[in-house]
């Protein structure tokens, strides 16, 4: 044992020496060609081990999603504020009342293996993602494209393509949709819509371990449970080129050691604050702090037929409003979240186009104990709340939500004078399984992180009838024909401002029915080590990686 470990040390030392020698050679070559040191520096950022291979259509979590978004340029890119700008696309032209889009690509885009980005790089990638045989986790993003249902049959040929995608020439393709969608030109900025080079289709498995993209960064290596290394892609032609030499995602299983590393200067950027540092991070002189409202929303939802709260009864409506008004959101954001949350006033988020703080009916989200008691008493006249009844809240304990739900329960007890309790569930996986199986018999925690910056991405997946009954994320099975009609109207609209008006009108219906109760917007809060420049966070609650320098 002793001997062999000594040997390994020697071998490791030798190879390290060889590597540093070769690195020396490489860097002398590059310093002559580039201007300053800071543009060559590698930024170490917080990361975690991806749960799946690095494929755009098979990644729906941040550990893999953050590197992938830097590796692939999509048709459109989002700026920090969430506004979509054409990137690979030169033009995305709607026709037929937003049911058909003609997409023209810009010239000169290349993958890092040298092959050009063509129309079929997109159509083949999307068809691959939609095809059931490939079992991709993000399949449902393609469901509005014509031909999707044909690819959902068991045993479908793995090369079968979406019939709604037609390649006109190398730089042009058309997309036919099942239903009109004004949000489609924004949606194609989501990770799953990335183009893929031909090399992917010959060996998806090895591609997933070392992806080839067209984004601001180029893939170097993925050492499992250790790091993902990316360097600047010199051929990138898009709107957000890298200002630094590269990004290294250092992997952690916990944010506590990552925070200590930022304090000690071993890590440059961390986009989450561990619970132990919530109170102190903004005053901590060893780090730079960032803390502004973000795009993640936190809420709780009522099972559609929960006793006393059912969606279709007058009593349920009154009680849901009473519960919402007995919650002091300011106090929770202040005392429990230490200012890392912002009280919710709508169903989307302040960083998303279409947000408004003055929607009709939003007073239901304001703390109003007198009104809450009044509504509760009115509901009691319809059907009495007996002593054995309890307001119960369910949440998963592995997500750090305990303090918030304890506070909720206490506020409801104090305001309404009824019994209230939490029903914690140990893991996220068990929690979601109960919701999916509609076995929840308590109010339950819900949250949403938008995939693309649009009011549509908050409303359609969470509250439309099409997403109810297990067909989407409408976990409370809310169904309202008027609400659906407004969404459809917005989807057919040619003008974004008009569409947002319709989405806001739809939100006003939600305030009336209150299928779920928004609590707060989770702040985009993070820290950077001293000496890191241009640290800010975007609409996705992530650092703007390209602009970091040191």
């Amino acid at each position: 044992m002793q001997k062999s470990s000594k040997l390994t040390v020697i071998v490791a030392g030798l190879s390290a020496a060889v590597m540093s020698l070769s690195a020396c050679g490489g860097s002398t070559g590059s310093t002559t060609s580039s201007s300053s040191d800071s543009t060559n520096s590698i930024i170490n950022v917080y990361g975690c081990e991806p749960q799946n291979p690095l494929l755009p259509t098979n990644t729906n979590e941040v550990c893999g999603g953050n590197p992938i978004d830097l590796l692939f340029a999509k048709l459109v890119a989002f700026d920090d504020k969430g506004n979509a700008k054409n990137e690979v696309a030169k033009e995305i032209k709607p026709s037929d009342g937003n049911k058909k889009y003609t997409i023209t690509l810009n010239d000169g885009w290349k993958f890092t293996d040298g092959t050009p980005v063509t129309a079929s790089s997109f159509t083949k990638a999307w068809s691959y993602g939609a095809n059931l045989t490939n079992a991709q986790l993000s399949t449902s993003f393609f469901q509005n494209i014509k031909g999707y249902s044909d690819l959902q049959k068991k045993g479908v040929d793995k090369k079968a393509q979406l019939s709604g995608l037609k390649v006109i020439d190398d730089k042009t393709f058309t997309v036919e949709l099942n239903a009109a969608s004004s949000v489609f030109p924004t949606m194609v900025g989501y990770t799953a819509f990335a183009p893929l080079p031909d090399s992917f289709f010959s060996n998806p498995k090895s591609f997933g371990q070392k992806p080839v993209g067209n984004g601001p960064y180029k893939f170097v290596s993925w050492t499992h449970n250790d790091s993902i290394k990316l360097v600047k892609n010199k051929d990138y032609k898009g709107v957000a080129p890298a200002q630094n030499g590269g990004i290294t995602f250092k992997m952690y299983t916990d944010t506590e050691p990552a925070y200590a590393d930022v304090q000690g200067g071993q890590l440059d950027v961390l986009e989450q604050i561990p619970p132990s540092a919530l109170k102190t991070f903004e005053k901590d002189s060893t780090v730079q702090a960032y803390n502004k409202p973000g795009s993640v929303t936190r809420a709780f939802t009522f099972p559609s037929n929960l006793k006393h709260f059912s969606l279709d009864s007058k009593e349920g409506n009154l009680r849901r409003q009473a519960i919402s008004m007995s919650i002091n959101r300011e106090q929770i954001c202040d005392k429990v979240l230490n200012g890392t949350g912002t009280p919710a006033v709508d169903f989307i988020s302040p960083v998303i186009p279409g947000y408004s703080a003055s929607l009709k009916g939003n007073s239901v989200l304001k703390y109003n104990p007198t009104e809450a008691k009044k509504l509760w008493a009115e509901a009691n006249k319809i059907s009495a709340w007996s002593d054995s009844d309890t307001v119960e809240f369910s949440y998963n304990t592995d997500g750090g939500q305990k303090d918030i739900f304890d506070a909720l329960v206490n506020q409801i007890k104090n305001t309404l004078g009824v019994k209230a309790e939490t029903k914690p569930i140990p893991t996220f996986s068990e929690f979601r399984a109960n919701i999916t199986a509609r076995k929840m018999n308590a109010l339950f925690r819900t949250g949403w992180q938008a995939d693309y910056p649009s009011a549509e991405d908050y409303l359609t997946p969470l509250y439309s009838s099409a997403a109810a009954d297990g067909k989407g994320s409408n976990d409370g099975d809310y169904k309202n024909a008027d609400f659906d009609a407004l969404l459809t109207k917005a989807a057919g609209s040619s003008d974004e401002a008009a569409a947002n008006k319709d989405y806001q009108a739809a939100e006003e219906l939600l305030f009336k029915d209150l299928p779920s109760v928004p609590l707060y917007y989770e702040n985009a809060s993070g820290v950077a080590a001293q000496g890191v420049k241009n640290f800010k966070m975007n609409w996705k609650n992530l650092p703007v990686y390209q602009e970091l320098t040191k």
Partner: protein
């Protein structure tokens, strides 16, 4: 001796099969659905979920899954994680790190524990005996993670003496702090164990006889007191190797060490059955082998013990 060894090795087979079955059953019984959790808050495409389940045999009954695992394990194929990495590769990366950490912690606790214990035991009632006792009491009563965080903050962040976290491929200095945290509690127990053994052996008849025969005080201590005092200490140290490897989870999380504890933790959270079972099985083997080695060492330390 040889026969005894063979018998002990044969005994390992049912132990290993029993543990794999038990752990597999426990992972299987974990509430929740790992495939559904893969979709997060997003809508689940049931046909895609079914496809993934069949790829990982998750759609088969428990006993079939277990037998498939066992059959493959015999050919050293421990399956794949959800990110398509062979479990054997994952273990191959994680175990060397944990072994390095455990050995460093082991050396730390063995040397400091025994030395301080002997000093304390031989010089009972002196001021340094009291200091050692108080410090060891403190180490036992303060939870490891508190000790870890405090040390990390002061030594790593504040004074910058040692790296804050170890990261991948850690070297000696990266692991120095984590290893002392990991070994600290056991060190405190070893101090106390050694101290009480040494001091009780000092009053034994054979020590008095040896002294009466005119042996020098040094050889009485080395040959008679220490040798007899070491038997329970060696037992403790032996079983502790397994505990250090399996119990490094807390330390590994604090110092972000990509070892077995961290891997196991993630495996449990993500419901990766084959990964969890494989790691636990190896840990069980480590325990069993350490116990065997300890039993063999008895015969060396105490000639009265014989194995047939």
């Amino acid at each position: 001796m040889g026969k005894y060894l063979l018998r002990r090795i044969l005994q390992m087979i049912p132990v290993v099969i029993g543990t794999t079955l038990l752990i597999y059953a426990l992972v299987f019984a974990l509430p929740g659905d790992p495939v559904a959790a893969m979709f997060g808050d997003k809508p689940i495409n049931q046909s895609v979920a079914a496809q993934i389940r069949s790829e990982y045999n998750l759609d088969k009954p428990f006993i079939v899954q277990y037998l498939i695992f066992l059959k493959n394990a015999l050919t050293l194929n421990f399956g794949e994680t959800f990110s398509h990495q062979p479990v054997i590769d994952v273990m191959g990366r994680a175990f060397p790190v944990t072994i390095k950490l455990a050995i460093m912690a082991f050396i730390f606790e063995a040397i400091f524990g025994v030395v301080f214990g002997i000093i304390s035991g031989l010089k009972r009632g002196k001021w340094y005996d009291s200091v050692i006792l108080v410090v060891s009491l403190l180490l036992i009563s303060v939870p490891t993670f508190v000790f870890g965080f405090v040390l990390q903050y002061f030594v790593g962040v504040k004074w910058g003496l040692l790296p804050v976290t170890a990261g991948s491929n850690p070297g000696f200095f990266d692991l120095l702090m984590p290893a002392s945290v990991l070994g600290s509690v056991s060190m405190a127990y070893i101090i106390r164990l050694t101290r009480s053994e040494v001091s009780s052996n000092m009053t034994e008849d054979y020590v008095r006889t040896a002294r009466a025969k005119g042996m020098s005080s040094k050889s009485v201590t080395m040959r008679h007191i220490l040798r007899n005092s070491m038997i329970p200490v060696v037992t403790y140290l032996g079983t502790d190797i397994g505990a250090l490897m399996g119990g490094a989870m807390v330390t590994e999380r604090i110092f972000n060490i990509n070892g077995i504890g961290n891997t196991l933790y993630q495996g449990i959270l993500r419901g990766e059955g084959p990964l969890v079972v494989s790691i636990v099985t190896v840990l069980v083997l480590v325990f069993v082998i350490c116990n065997l080695v300890v039993d063999m060492l008895y015969a060396v330390l105490d000639p009265r013990i014989r194995y047939a």
